[in-house]
């Protein structure tokens, strides 16, 4: 039941994305409404400040994982719906797995590098 597990992860990643995008909205764009205390949350200094805190690094990486998985799995679904041959589907799967890992490694490097500099 691998495909079903992957589909359930697809839904789970959507929930995760909603939660983390909610945090992102609350911290960066609703600071006045929610009175978070940060008067310029989108300023460079404020962003760099958050990027050096471990909690935020975890949030950024989880957001990246959920966003990548949800986006790529969804796109794969659209492509395989229009792909008749099973060989082509296998190729699409491989491209998405390798592509996903490369994008993840590249994008996760930035918050990790910022936090550890």
């Amino acid at each position: 039941m691998l495909k079903t597990r992957m589909q359930l992860l697809f839904y789970l990643s959507a929930i995760g994305l909603a939660v983390f995008l909610g945090i992102h909205m609350a911290v960066q764009h609703l600071n006045n409404v929610l009175a978070t205390g940060d008067t310029a949350p989108t300023s460079w200094l404020s962003m760099i400040g958050r990027a050096t805190q471990n909690g935020w690094v975890v949030i950024y990486i989880l957001m990246l994982v959920f966003g990548l998985y949800h986006g790529l799995y969804g796109l794969r679904g659209i492509i395989i719906e229009m792909t008749k041959s099973d060989k082509a589907i296998n190729l699409v799967n491989r491209i998405f797995i390798v592509g996903g890992i490369i994008i993840f490694a590249w994008a996760a490097y930035i918050p990790i590098a910022l936090a550890t500099r």
């Binding site: 039941m1 495909k3 079903t4 589909q7 359930l8 395989i80 719906e81 229009m82 008749k84 589907i89």
Partner: protein
């Protein structure tokens, strides 16, 4: 709306793959009467106007599932659709979409039947000898019958497949008919084939390709609601993926009869 005095223009799609390159529309004027169905009109055309018109029909009462057609741009059973209910002086009749055309209004439903067969549309038994040669009768409570009853009304007309947007874009998609029937058998307390069946329905072109457009349920002339069946099937698949194969509870078997009572004799025929 046509009354008993009026006639209706029928625009019927004609296509003979042996002669035609493209389908074409042909017009017929059909005198209508109260209660007349699209099938009655097609039979009128065949008997009086053009005997070469090809379409499929059998029971004329919404039971055999032969007469699915695309009537006024919506998939319907021709025998189950009255001309009056369309409230239109012009009626277009085309073959069902998403299936290859054999001739005129007759489509090839074999791909749908093949998909239906692939999901094992029968009660799977743990004991394979018992599966092909049943020796017992099973006790099924009314509430157990309710679990699948609605879904067992499917007449395999293919109307849901014609309405389904995923079937339109993915010819390999199992489709609402086969997936609905997969749930019908998984939900049957006598069945032991869920684990096997659910691995078939989770294929690349299986239940997860359903986007819940709901067009199948809206179009189904028998109220089967295949869209609901697919969602319930997804639920079963999720349970199997997370917690392993879920077995139906063992159904009771009727005890062997101790004595066979003789049949009550048929009373003699008395009417003269």
């Amino acid at each position: 709306m046509p009354d008993k005095e009026t006639s209706v223009t029928f625009k019927v799609q004609r296509f003979d793959p042996e002669k035609d390159k493209q389908p074409r529309m042909q017009e017929f004027i059909v005198p209508t009467r109260r209660g007349m169905t699209i099938l009655d009109a097609l039979l009128y055309i065949k008997e009086n106007l053009d005997g070469t018109l090809a379409f499929r029909t059998s029971c004329r009462m919404g039971i055999c599932g032969s007469c699915g057609m695309y009537i006024n741009n919506y998939p319907r059973l021709a025998c189950h659709t009255q001309i009056a209910e369309l409230e239109s002086a012009v009626v277009t009749v085309k073959p069902l979409p998403n299936s290859p055309i054999i001739k005129d209004l007759a489509v090839d439903l074999q791909p749908m039947f093949d998909k239906h067969k692939s999901i094992k549309p029968y009660i799977v038994q743990e004991n394979k000898t018992e599966e092909s040669n049943l020796t017992h009768e099973y006790v099924q409570k009314p509430e157990e019958v309710e679990e699948y009853e609605q879904f067992s009304y499917c007449i395999k007309c293919g109307i849901c497949v014609a309405a389904c947007p995923t079937s339109a874009s993915d010819a390999k998609f199992l489709g609402p008919q086969a997936l609905g029937q997969a749930y019908r058998y998984c939900a049957d307390s006598r069945d032991a084939g869920s684990a096997e069946r659910l691995t078939i329905t989770e294929s690349n072109h299986g239940a997860w390709r359903c986007h819940l457009a709901g067009a199948c349920s809206e179009a189904c002339p028998k109220g089967v609601d295949p869209g609901l069946a697919i969602q319930l099937l997804k639920n079963k698949m999720a349970k199997q993926a997370l917690a392993g194969p879920q077995k139906n509870k063992k159904v009771a078997i009727y005890p062997e009869p101790k004595e066979i009572k003789p049949r009550v004799a048929v009373p003699p025929f008395t009417a003269k």
